[in-house]
């Protein structure tokens, strides 16, 4: 905008100057007022930091996803109860977009322009969030930890304020593909894919290693709960290993369909879909004794980048349970809530790194600088740097057994495209004793 000032001054000096001055004095006072300048940053006061997010709380995408912000809020409440970050309490506002991009655009406008949030944290969904990508970046609002594994969030040149968080679907697909290729070289692989970028990127990653092992790929559209035709097609193609890039409810539905079809392949669900606690509880209630809950998922292979609620004695899960018991609302701790808490944890780390007087640009710079070294609940490190805004670098492969998981591989890390897959040797030190990170400010 600065480049116009000169011309405007000329204009104002011209014949219409009087009119402009009058109009200016009439409307100027009531106008937008522009951005607060000086030392005080938008959304930050001496004792609060205000951040926002958009989630589907109504409509068809609400089941499951609407849990995430309740987890995030519980963790922020926990941090606030322990004094906040640098003496500032985190005010977290989440608004409903019903998974509709038009609504997302509206509520994010509201968050940024009306509520004046400092940053957007954890906004969910590829399509909804793409609608606000331009807006957030042109306004210079940090857009951290988008709750989606799309590759869109890693474009630091075009979208310098946007960061991914979870391992993207392509990276996960690559690690899964190589694992299957090495350990089950004779498997005839059928792909069960959600019909969006989740399925597409996962398929791309998996096919990079499985090329000629894939015998069929079937896609389902969210909302159509009858997946028996898709499963029947996988069965007909002779797939003896089904690799699912699908959400948890569709794990339950695909299991039910395969019961009906008497189809018993080896199941391999990517991280999103495995959620044994949720799927198990869904399945166990269907039929008295007929389907015995989690045991139906016994032997299912999956990947992990966070310990889930089924691993009750993992130190991170113990922390999340403690947080949820103290600050959660109704309902139990679920993996969705746990996901929300883990994102909140990373945000607290980032805010600490940005120092005692955080600015929007400072927050982004701090994350680029120390993001790759942050130690948190994630099993693999983040890929954050000046050139990369991609989230976690990898996953480990594990097998569900009863109410826990059995490790099948170490944590593998890689990057998009042709990057090699390597073993990650770092160890997760577990949460700090008080459950709150302490990251040094970036100098």
């Amino acid at each position: 905008m600065n480049k116009h000032i000169g011309r405007r001054d000329l204009l104002r000096a011209g014949g219409w100057g009087l009119a402009a001055a009058t109009a200016g004095s009439l409307f100027g006072a009531c106008g937008a007022g522009g951005r607060p300048g000086g030392s005080s940053e938008v959304g930050i006061t001496g004792n609060t930091v205000k951040i926002g997010a958009h989630f589907p709380l109504t409509g068809v995408a609400a089941p499951g996803y609407s849990d995430i912000p309740t987890g995030t809020k519980a963790y922020f409440d926990y941090v606030n109860a322990h004094g906040g970050v640098n003496g500032r309490k985190i005010e977290y506002i989440f608004r409903d977009d019903a998974y509709n991009p038009s609504n997302t655009s509206q509520v994010v406008n509201e968050l940024v322009l009306q509520d004046q949030v400092f940053a957007i944290v954890g906004g969910l969904g590829t399509a909804p969030h793409s609608a606000v990508l331009d807006f957030l970046n042109s306004e210079g609002v940090p857009d951290l930890f988008v709750s989606s594994g799309s590759l869109l969030w890693d474009q630091p040149k075009k979208n310098p304020y946007t960061f991914g968080w979870q391992p993207d679907y392509e990276v996960e697909g690559k690690i899964i593909g190589r694992y299957v290729h090495r350990n089950m070289p004779n498997a005839r692989v059928g792909l069960f894919l959600q019909d969006d970028d989740f399925g597409d990127d996962g398929e791309k990653g998996a096919r990079a290693y499985l090329g000629d092992q894939v015998v069929a790929a079937q896609r389902y559209v969210s909302g159509n709960t009858d997946v028996a035709p898709q499963i029947a097609a996988l069965q007909a193609a002779g797939a003896d290993l089904v690799l699912g890039f699908n959400v948890p409810s569709y794990t339950a539905l695909s299991q039910l369909a395969s019961l009906k079809l008497n189809y018993r392949p080896q199941w391999f669900y990517s991280n999103v879909g495995s959620d044994p606690a949720l799927v198990g509880s869904l399945l166990s209630r269907f039929s008295k004794g007929e389907v015995s809950g989690a045991s139906m998922l016994d032997g299912v292979i999956t990947t992990e980048y966070l310990a889930g609620v089924e691993e009750a004695d993992d130190p991170w899960v113990e922390l999340w349970q403690q947080v949820w018991d103290a600050h959660g609302g109704e309902g139990e701790l679920t993996n969705f809530r746990l996901y929300g808490m883990a994102e909140a944890y990373t945000f607290v780390q980032t805010l600490q790194a940005a120092g005692p007087d955080p600015t929007r640009d400072g927050l982004v710079a701090a994350l680029e600088k120390v993001g790759a070294e942050l130690q948190g609940p994630g099993l693999a490190p983040f890929r954050y740097s000046g050139d990369s805004h991609a989230g976690m670098a990898g996953v480990k492969v594990s097998r569900l057994a009863g109410n826990s998981t059995e490790k099948l591989s170490p944590v593998f890390v890689t990057d998009n495209g042709k990057a090699e897959i390597t073993e990650y040797t770092g160890r997760n030190p577990g949460p700090p004793p008080n459950g709150i990170p302490s990251v040094e400010p970036v100098g």
Partner: protein, 322 residues
């Protein structure tokens, strides 16, 4: 884990024994797939049929399409779920849901529909759409917007007959049986009972019916109550052994409507046949063309029927304005 008859990939040069077996196996699997998809369509179709029956019943008694039917069925299914989760048996929940449907139907007719009956047909459409939206939001507030599993009283495994899989579960058979029973009961009601005759008369011409001593108001209420009960049944049948969430009936509204129109909107038999045709067609479309095209296929069927044979396949009415 890996099937022993798997076709060797790569440079298989000669027509070896396993390869021939592989081809035969592939043909067998292709046939099996078609059978599975068709039978799956049959069980889905039974559900659409149940929903279409509810629409037909209301159409026959008040000449209104109840777009709130899905939400009403969803709501009563949640009542059943609450009972079952509190430890009652499936059948207690089942019976209470049907009774709740009966009551809800009567209430909706007396409190809301009565005031738009006989008025511009658009007003009735808008009112039922309003009920549809409101009930769905109310259910989300009361019961939560998460996925819940709804139990089934029978098994969920398909049958295996001599190595051929029959993709019907005992619960599917129960659903199909229930739909056939309801259809027969409705046919009997309309054809053989006085009440049925009065209901038809009230819908056909209110003034004449009143002159002949038919308690028209009560007949209309009864029609809605019965229809809502059938709607609740369809809600329970869709939910059984699957996931429920406040919007789980949305697609069924459209598919059930198309099924009812296909059958002629005032024929119970037509509704069931229409439902089964819809179920099979949509299952085949989903299995062979892609699940994103299912809703479009429903639209195509509807438009074709309305343009080619607007009276539907089974309607007896000589002239029908659509």
């Amino acid at each position: 884990m890996v099937a022993p008859t798997a076709v060797p990939r790569g440079a298989a040069t000669t027509m070896s024994e396993p390869l021939i077996e592989g081809i035969a196996g592939r043909n067998r699997r292709t046939m099996q797939q078609f059978l599975n998809v068709a039978l799956n369509g049959l069980s889905q179709g039974a559900i659409y049929a149940a929903f279409a029956l509810a629409l037909v019943l209301i159409w026959r008694s008040t000449r209104i399409i109840n777009f709130a039917q899905g939400s009403m069925g969803m709501f009563t299914t949640y009542i059943a779920l609450a009972l079952i989760e509190s430890g009652r048996s499936y059948w207690v929940g089942f019976a209470v849901a049907l009774l709740a449907g009966l009551l809800l139907g009567a209430l909706v007719e007396r409190l809301v529909i009565r005031r738009v009956e006989g008025g511009p047909e658009l007003n009735a459409v808008i009112v039922t759409l309003g009920l549809f939206v409101a009930l769905q939001a109310l259910a989300a507030i009361l019961f939560g917007a998460t996925y819940r599993s709804f139990p089934a009283p029978f098994g969920l495994h398909g049958f295996d007959v001599g190595g051929v899989n029959i993709a019907l579960t005992p619960f599917n058979l129960f659903a199909i049986g229930a739909v056939v029973v309801v259809m027969l009961a409705l046919v009997a009601l309309f054809r053989f009972t006085d009440v049925g005759l009065r209901m038809r008369a009230s819908a056909f011409n209110q003034e004449v019916s009143r002159l002949l001593g038919v308690p028209v108001g009560r007949m209309l209420t009864l029609g809605w109550a019965l229809a809502a009960m059938v709607g609740s049944l369809s809600g329970l049948l869709i939910a059984g052994g699957s996931l429920v969430f406040p919007a789980y009936m949305d697609a069924v509204i459209v598919y059930g409507f198309v099924a009812a129109v296909l059958g002629g909107l005032d024929s119970p038999v037509g509704a069931v046949v229409g439902g089964l045709v819809m179920g099979m067609t949509l299952s085949v479309v989903s299995g062979y063309l892609g699940s994103e095209l299912v809703a479009l296929a429903a639209l195509a069927i509807l438009v074709t029927v309305l343009l080619v044979r607007p009276r539907g396949l089974f309607s007896r009415t000589a002239v029908r304005q659509v």
